[in-house]
C-alpha cells in the first residue's frame, strides 16, 4: 500500500509540516505519476485541474470559432454575387456542413464547457470536479473528435492534388469532407449519395458525444454532491444552475443522437437498413431521432449563455438578480419543454394536423419561460446602478439581440407561416440572431467578465467598445437582410442563385456585414492577446462582484480555496462585503491535514487518444484504404487499455498545506 493511500485513510493522524516539498509518487502500476512536473507540456497533457482543463477547452474552442468563421466568410463571399463561381457546389456544401458542425460542436459547446469547467467548482466552493480524471478524458476525447471530424479536409486536399481516390464502399464519391449538412438527413447520408466525408462526420460526432456525455455526468455529480457547506441549491449562482440543467439535457438528449449515429454507421459500414428505403427503412426516423437530440441541443447551447448574463447583469447593476427562483425555474422549464418541441423542425414533413398543432402550441409555450428571463433581466436593471463596463455592454447587447432572435422564433411557431419560412434564409436569420446575437455576445461578455479571474490580469484600454460596435453592427448588417431574403424565397444551402429574383442586393449587403463581423472578432482576439501580454494584476475582485469565485485569488490557486468556505446566503461574496454580520463567509477548520489534491494521470489522455484510430480507421475503411479496419480495432484496444490502466493505477492524490493567510 502506497504512502499516499495511508495518508488518505489516516489523515488526521498525519501531522504534516506547514511547508511541504511535493514530489511525484509511484502509482499502483509502479510508474511515477506525472504530478509536479517541471515540463509544461507534460503538465498540461496530464492535468486534472478543472481550471487548466477549462482554459484548454476555451483556447481550442476559440481556435475553432475562427475556423468556423473563416468557413462562413468563404460561404458569404461565394454568395456575394449571383452565379458566382468562386467555389464549386461540392466545396460550398462541405463548407456549410462544416461551418454548422464546427460552430455547434467545436466552438460553442466547448466554449460553454470552458466556463463550466473553470467556474462551477469555484462557484460552489469545491476543490475540483467530482471526477477529475474523467474531466481530463472529456477534454481529450473532444480533441480526438475534432481531429476526426476535420480529417476529411486533409483527405479532400489529397484528392484535389490527385494523390487520393476513394475506392471500396464509396468508390467514385469525391466528397471526402462532410457534405450532407450538419443535420445529416437520411437518405442523403447513404453510401450511394455521399462519400467518406459522411463517415468522418459520423465517427467524429460520436466521439464528441462521448466527450459531452462524460463531462455532463461529471458536472451533475459535482453540482449535486460537491457544494460547500451552506451552498444550498437555491443559493447556487444561476450560472451553476444552468450548468446543471444543461448537463441533464446532455445526459438525456445525446443518447438519441448516439443511437441514430450508430444506426447510420451500421447502415453505411455493415449493410443494415435503418434508413434505407429499398430495405424497408424509414428516412423520417432519422429526423425524429436527430431533432429529439437537436432541439434540446439548442438549449444546451443557449442556457449557459443565459446563465452568464444572469451573473453579469446583477454585478453591474449592484442588485441581486430579480426573481432568482423564477429565473432558475424558467431555465429548468425551458430545458424540460426543449424535449417536447423537436417536431417544429419538421413542420413541412407531413406530420398531420394534430401533431403539427401540438408542436405548434408547445413551441409557443416555450416563449413564456424565455420571455420570463428577459423580464427578470430588465427587472434586475430596474432601480439599480448600471455600470457600462465591457461585460455589461455585451450583456445588454445580448438581451437586445436575443430578443430579436426570439421574435422570429415566435414567427416560426405558427406552423402555416413556417411553411414559407422553413429552409429559407429567414431561418438562418433567426438562429444567427440567437447564436451570434445571443450565445456569442454572452460568451464574449463572459470572457470579458471572467478572464481577469482566469489569468489574474485586467483588461487594458477600451478596445472592447470597438469589439462591441463591430460585432453588433456586423451581425445586424449580415443577418437582418436575411429575414427579407428568406421571405423573398431564397432557400438555404444553395451554393449559388440566379439573377432576377430580387436577391442580389440583400446578398451583397449580407456579405459586407459578414466582413464587419469578422473584423469585430479579430479585434476580440487582439484584445485577448493584449490582456495576456500587458494586463495589470487584476486582484481578487476587480468588478465588485457577488459570487464565490471572486472570493479567491486571481488566478485561483490549484486548490481553489485554502479553507472550505461556509456559505451563509445567496450572492455569498456580496453579503460578505456589504451584508450584515451574520452573513459573512466563514471557513471550515481543516484540522491540520491540509487539502487533498487528486493526482495527475496519463491514462485519460491515452484512452482518449484511442478514439483517433477508431474514428479515422472506420472512415478510411469506408474510403477504401486497406487495413483500416485493423487500425480501428487497434484504437479500441488503446481505448480499452487506457481505461483499464486508469482503473488499476489507483486514484493517488496528495496533500497541500497552503499558508492560510496568503490565500
Amino acid at each position: 500500500m502506497s504512502q499516499t493511500e495511508t495518508e488518505i485513510h489516516a489523515p488526521s493522524t498525519t501531522q504534516a509540516p506547514k511547508t511541504h516539498e511535493l514530489k511525484p509518487e509511484p502509482s499502483q502500476l509502479g510508474f511515477m505519476r506525472p504530478d509536479h512536473s517541471k515540463s509544461v507540456i507534460m503538465d498540461w497533457l496530464t492535468t486534472v485541474d478543472h481550471k487548466k482543463i477549462g482554459i484548454m477547452y476555451g483556447a481550442i474552442a476559440l481556435f475553432f470559432l475562427l475556423v468556423g468563421g473563416f468557413e462562413a466568410l468563404i460561404i458569404r463571399t461565394q454568395l456575394a454575387f449571383p452565379e458566382n463561381d468562386l467555389i464549386s457546389a461540392q466545396r460550398y456544401n462541405q463548407l456549410f456542413t462544416m461551418h454548422g458542425t464546427t460552430m455547434i460542436f467545436l466552438a460553442i459547446m466547448p466554449l460553454n464547457a470552458a466556463f463550466f469547467n473553470f467556474l462551477v467548482p469555484l462557484q460552489i466552493g469545491a476543490r475540483d470536479v467530482a471526477f477529475p480524471r474523467i474531466n481530463s478524458f472529456s477534454l481529450w476525447a473532444f480533441v480526438a473528435g475534432a481531429i476526426v471530424i476535420n480529417f476529411g479536409w486533409v483527405l479532400q486536399a489529397l484528392q484535389v492534388m490527385g494523390l487520393f481516390e476513394a475506392s471500396g464502399p464509396t468508390a467514385g464519391m469525391t466528397d471526402l469532407a462532410p457534405a450532407m449538412g450538419w443535420f445529416g438527413y437520411a437518405p442523403l447520408t447513404g453510401t450511394n449519395f455521399t462519400g467518406a466525408g459522411t463517415d468522418f462526420w459520423i465517427m467524429g460526432l460520436q466521439i464528441l458525444g462521448i466527450a459531452s456525455l462524460s463531462a455532463a455526468m461529471n458536472f451533475v455529480v459535482t453540482i449535486v454532491n460537491m457544494r460547500a457547506p451552506g451552498m444550498k441549491m437555491m443559493r447556487m449562482p444561476v450560472f451553476t444552475w444552468m450548468t446543471l440543467v444543461v448537463s441533464l439535457l446532455i445526459v438525456f438528449a445525446f443518447p438519441a443522437i448516439t443511437i441514430a449515429l450508430g444506426q447510420l454507421m451500421f447502415d453505411r459500414c455493415f449493410g443494415t437498413n435503418f434508413f434505407v428505403v429499398a430495405g424497408g427503412g424509414q428516412p423520417i426516423l432519422w429526423q425524429h431521432l436527430f431533432w429529439i437530440f437537436g432541439h434540446p441541443e439548442v438549449y444546451i447551447l443557449v442556457l449557459p449563455a443565459m446563465g452568464i448574463i444572469s451573473e453579469i447583469l446583477p454585478v453591474f447593476s449592484k442588485k441581486p438578480l430579480f426573481g432568482y427562483s423564477i429565473v432558475v425555474f424558467s431555465g429548468a422549464v425551458i430545458g424540460f419543454l426543449g424535449f417536447a418541441v423537436w417536431s417544429h423542425h419538421m413542420f413541412t414533413t407531413g406530420l398531420g394536423k394534430v401533431a403539427t398543432a401540438a408542436f405548434s402550441l408547445l413551441t409557443m409555450a416555450i416563449a413564456v419561460p424565455t420571455g420570463v428571463k428577459i423580464f427578470n433581466w430588465i427587472g434586475t436593471l430596474w432601480g439599480g446602478r448600471v455600470r457600462f463596463s465591457a461585460p455589461m455592454i455585451f450583456s445588454l447587447g445580448f438581451v437586445w439581440m436575443f430578443m430579436m432572435g426570439g421574435f422570429s422564433g415566435i414567427m416560426h411557431s405558427s406552423a402555416p407561416a413556417d411553411a414559407q419560412q422553413q429552409d429559407s434564409y429567414f431561418v438562418i436569420a433567426h438562429f444567427h440572431y440567437v447564436a451570434i446575437g445571443g450565445i456569442f455576445l454572452a460568451v464574449v461578455a463572459g470572457i470579458y467578465f471572467w478572464l481577469p479571474k482566469m489569468i489574474g490580469k485586467m483588461w487594458k484600454g477600451n478596445l472592447s467598445t470597438w469589439v462591441a460596435i463591430f460585432s453588433t453592427v456586423g451581425l445586424n448588417v449580415t443577418f437582418f437582410p436575411m429575414h427579407f431574403l428568406g421571405l423573398l424565397g431564397m432557400p438555404r444551402r444553395t451554393h449559388t442563385y440566379l439573377e432576377g429574383f430580387g436577391w442580389e442586393t440583400y446578398n451583397l449587403v449580407c456579405t459586407i456585414g459578414a466582413y464587419i463581423l469578422a473584423f469585430g472578432i479579430l479585434l476580440l482576439v487582439v484584445d485577448i492577446i493584449r490582456c495576456f501580454r500587458n494586463g495589470e494584476p487584476a486582484g481578487n475582485d476587480p468588478w465588485d462582484a457577488r459570487t464565490l469565485e471572486w472570493a479567491t485569488t486571481s488566478p485561483p490557486q490549484v486548490y481553489n480555496f485554502a479553507k472550505t468556505p461556509i456559505i451563509p446566503a445567496r450572492d455569498a461574496l456580496w453579503e460578505d462585503k456589504y451584508g450584515p454580520e451574520n452573513r459573512k463567509i466563514t471557513h471550515e477548520d481543516d484540522h491540520g491535514h491540509g487539502i487533498h489534491m487528486p493526482s495527475q494521470s496519463w491514462m485519460p489522455f491515452i484512452a482518449a487518444l484511442g478514439f483517433i484510430p477508431v474514428g479515422l480507421g472506420m472512415s478510411l475503411m469506408q474510403a477504401g484504404v486497406p487495413y483500416m479496419g485493423y487500425v480501428a480495432i487497434f484504437g479500441l484496444l488503446v481505448l480499452g487499455l487506457g481505461i483499464a490502466l486508469w482503473a488499476i493505477e489507483g486514484p493517488g492524490g496528495y496533500h497541500m498545506h497552503p499558508e492560510v493567510d496568503a490565500a
Binding site: F322, F375, I378, Q420, L498
Partner: protein, 424 residues
C-alpha cells in the same frame, strides 16, 4: 431599419411570400403578419422598458445615491407578465390552429371538381367529382409532374388551371426534396418511402373572390360578376410562377428549380391535348416508316432535325432515359419527359432560362444556346447529375467502337439542340 427595408425594396419578386397569389399562401402570409404585429408590439413594450431602464438607472459620475435596494423580485409583477405573455400567445395560437386545419386538407370545392371545369376529352367518369391531381416526384435534381387523371407526364414546368383546387401528391425517387412555390403555397417535403400531400390553388375561387369584393351573399351570381371574376384571373393570376427545391438534396440542390404556368380552363385543356398527342417525325413520315428507313438506310434521313433525331435515338442514347410522346421508341423514364420540351421556358430544371419576361414568349436564340450548353457541359451546369455520368450510360461517358472516350462533337450537339428545340 425595418421601415428602411420595406420602403426601399421591391417585395413583389419572383418567389416572394409577401405578394401572394392563392388562398394557401395568403393564409400563411396573414398568419405571418399577425406574428409580426404581435411581436412588434412586444418589442416596443419590452424594448422600450429595457432602453428606459438602461438610461434611467445608469451610473452617473459622483453618484451620491444610496446603494440600490437588494430586493429579490416581486411575485405579482412576475405573474402579471407571465399572464400577459400567455394572452399574447393565444392571439397567435387560435388563428394558427385555424390555419393548420385550413391549409392541411384539400377542400371539397364543387367548382374545382374536374367535371365542373375540364372541357377536354377522355375524363373517366369517377374523376368528375375529384379535383385535379398532380403527382410530384422529386429526383436529384429535377421534377416529374404526373397528371394521373389525364394520363400525361411532364417535367420541371407544370401547368395548372387558375382558381381551381389542385391536389398535389409528393413522392421522392432518391433523397428528400421540398416542393416550394412561394407565391401560391408554402413548402411540403418529398420524402422517400412515403407520400405526402398538399393542396394549392392559384388565385381565389369565385366565392372567396366575391367575399373580398364585398358582394353580399353566397347566392349572388350574375354574368357580369362572372366576367369580372374571369378578368381578375386573367389579369392577376394567369402567369408564370417560380418554384424551387427547399430541402438540401446534394451537389446541385441550388439548381433544382421548377415552374408553374397558370392558365385558364380552355388553355389547360389545349395543353393536355398537346401533351397527349406528342410529336411526329421531322419530315412528316409515320414513325414506322421513319424507323424502317433508320434501320435500312439511315443516310436517307437527311436534314438537321433528322440528324438530331438519329443522334437522339442512336449515338447519344437520349431515348434510353427520356420519353418523347408520339415516338414509340423513346420510352426511358429515368430522366425528364421531353414531350414539348421546346415549348418550355426553361431547361435543366429551371436553371437555364429563355423566357422573355416582357411578353412571356421564348427567346429562340437563347433557347438554342441553353440546349447547346446543357448537352455540351451537363456536369458544369449541374454537377454530379446522372445525365453526364451514370455508370457508363451518361453522355459524358460515350465511347467509340474501340472503347475510347468519344464525347459528342460540336456538330452533333448543334443538331441535337435543333431537334430538341423543334419539340413543341
Amino acid at each position: 431599419m425595418t421601415v428602411l427595408f420595406l420602403g426601399g425594396c421591391n417585395l413583389d419578386t419572383r418567389m416572394t411570400t409577401f405578394v401572394t397569389k392563392g388562398p394557401v399562401a395568403e393564409t400563411q402570409y396573414d398568419l405571418f403578419m399577425l406574428t409580426v404585429w404581435v411581436t412588434l408590439g412586444i418589442f416596443i413594450a419590452v424594448g422600450g422598458a429595457f432602453a428606459f431602464a438602461i438610461i434611467k438607472f445608469r451610473e452617473r459620475p459622483d453618484d451620491e445615491r444610496p446603494m440600490p435596494s437588494q430586493g429579490h423580485g416581486n411575485p405579482l409583477v412576475e405573474i402579471g407578465l407571465i399572464g400577459a405573455s400567455i394572452l399574447l400567445l393565444v392571439i397567435i395560437a387560435v388563428p394558427t390552429l385555424q390555419g393548420i386545419w385550413y391549409t392541411h386538407d384539400t377542400p371539397e370545392d364543387p367548382e374545382s371538381f374536374m367535371g365542373a371545369w375540364y372541357s377536354g376529352e377522355e375524363l373517366a367518369e369517377e374523376e368528375a367529382d375529384n379535383p385535379l391531381i398532380v403527382k410530384v416526384i422529386g429526383y436529384q435534381w429535377w421534377w416529374a409532374f404526373e397528371y394521373p387523371q389525364l394520363g400525361i407526364t411532364t417535367a420541371n414546368e407544370m401547368v395548372i388551371p387558375a382558381g381551381k383546387v389542385v391536389h398535389i401528391e409528393l413522392r421522392s425517387f432518391d433523397v428528400i426534396h421540398s416542393f416550394w412555390l412561394p407565391r401560391i403555397a408554402g413548402k411540403v417535403d418529398l420524402i422517400p418511402g412515403r407520400t405526402n400531400s398538399m393542396w394549392i390553388q392559384a388565385g381565389d375561387n369565385f366565392l372567396r373572390w366575391k367575399e373580398k369584393q364585398g358582394v353580399a351573399g353566397p347566392e349572388e351570381e350574375s354574368p357580369a360578376l362572372r366576367a369580372d371574376y374571369a378578368a381578375y384571373l386573367e389579369e392577376e393570376i394567369h402567369n408564370y410562377y417560380y418554384g424551387q427545391c427547399a430541402e438540401y438534396c446534394g451537389d446541385s440542390h441550388a439548381r433544382m428549380h421548377f415552374r408553374a404556368t397558370v392558365v385558364d380552363n380552355k388553355e389547360f385543356a389545349e395543353w393536355v391535348i398537346d401533351e397527349r398527342t406528342g410529336h411526329g417525325t421531322p419530315d412528316g413520315k409515320t414513325w414506322d416508316d421513319w424507323y424502317a428507313a433508320y434501320a435500312d438506310n439511315p443516310d436517307s434521313l437527311t436534314g438537321d432535325l433528322n440528324e438530331g433525331l438519329k443522334l437522339f435515338m442512336g449515338r447519344a442514347k437520349c431515348a434510353t432515359c427520356h420519353v418523347v410522346k408520339g415516338n414509340p421508341r423513346a420510352l426511358g423514364v429515368a430522366g425528364p419527359n421531353l414531350t414539348n420540351v421546346g415549348s418550355r421556358m426553361s431547361i435543366a430544371a429551371g436553371w437555364l432560362n429563355h423566357r422573355i419576361e416582357e411578353d412571356g414568349s421564348i427567346d429562340l436564340e437563347k433557347q438554342y444556346d441553353n440546349f447547346y450548353k446543357w448537352i455540351k457541359e451537363t456536369d458544369v451546369v449541374k454537377p454530379g447529375n446522372r445525365m453526364w455520368k451514370a455508370g457508363g450510360g451518361g453522355i459524358g461517358e460515350l465511347i467509340d467502337e474501340n472503347g475510347e472516350l468519344a464525347l459528342l462533337t460540336e456538330d452533333e450537339i448543334h443538331k441535337l439542340s435543333l431537334y430538341l428545340q423543334s419539340l413543341k
